[in-house]
Amino acid sequence: MQVRTYIRPASLADALHTLATVEEPIAIIAGGTDVLVYAREDDRYANSALIDIYGLAGELGQIREERDDLIIGALATHAAIAKSPLVLRYAPILADACRSIAAPQVRNHATIAGNIANASPAADSLGALAVLRAKVGVQSPEGQRELAMDQIIARPYRNNLGPRDLITYIRIPKLEGYQHMFYKLGRRRAQSISRMTLAALLKRDSQGVVEDFRITVGATFPRPMVFPDVDAMLIGIRPAQADLEAVAKALSNKIPEIAGIRASTAYKQPVCEKLCLRILNNLLGGDQQ
């Protein structure tokens, strides 16, 4: 690919120093599964300093616990997340989402931070991260901050990160006692760009009263969305079929409300409603995991 300079920092500190000092426009490459696709489309990186952080996986690729949170290193690959015992225990919906992304070869190399930074509306991990209320840890020469999923992405393929920002980790509050469902609708069964995803988390008490509920739709909105108003519809009640139908209706109504009426709305809105209802029925009919 065409770039001005190629820099391979030896450590996170080195990377931060590079980010602070480099003069050219900055392009960060991790797994590279998006960057190398863009590089064949045009010369957009021709004047950039390409900073290759893939070698920092030792520092930035770990998955660990930090009290009530799960910390996923920015360079953890989708394959590593999908099979991480910690993720499978505390955030299995993320494992499911990561397992559904692209093909094994891409999952083995593409990183979770790259998926976030690329900000594709069809990225499968984003919906799961949104319902998990994940926070993205960002470091820059100015310091460190955390952003929520709906803050970090501005619109399709545009994140809210500054040129010298580096995603270093994803913080996910550990969840226990939740049921989850990640549903991916694609035009084929493997390595498919999502037509729509649904991610749902549900926690009920022993009486069947919903303690917590979170649902979102992916590959549909310009950025990852959370819908506290929809979530609230089930919290505190023992849902009857009519309640589930109301949730499905409310969720699917978000599509024209937020994304506007498009050619795809005639398909996506009813499909979203039907899938939402199916998922809720599955969750409520099934056992807690």
Binding site: M1, Q2, V3, Y6, R8, I29, G31, G32, T33, L36, V37, R40, L50, D52, Y54, G55, A79, A102, A103, P104, Q105, V106, N108, H109, R189, A190, Q191
Partner: protein
Amino acid sequence: MSQVQLQFRLNGKDYSIQADPTQRMVDLLRENLHLTGTKVGCGVGECGACTVVLNGEAVTSCLVLAGQMQGADILTVEGLSETQIGSILQQCFVDGDAVQCGFCTPGFLMSAYALLLHNPHPTREEIKVAVSGNLCRCTGYVPILNAIEAAGLRLAAEGK
């Protein structure tokens, strides 16, 4: 882009070469090293014809930067015969008529190699997942899945 010194292990041999780190790994393999067994079918990581094994995992070498080969251990189709799993896979592909035009074959072999490396006795479903990033237009996949299944059984018989 200027060249840098890259050191890596490839098909069991140590390499130290001058190369452009911003080229694709597949171009380094094919153009610099003339290892043309690794194919380019799409350039966007969809067809899997360029699959190689990088540090024990299958990756599409059209989406890996050459600079990321630094320090890595890489296996391509040219090195497959030197491995137990690889040579069994090759024989099972020939025996099971899993090869037609053959353009996708190296990629399938490498995905299958990575699978058997970690999971010597995969189920049919696990095999399908492992090669779901490899497209074949000739065989309808069944002979390929059968061949990988047979290789798993042969490995089991050989006590792997």
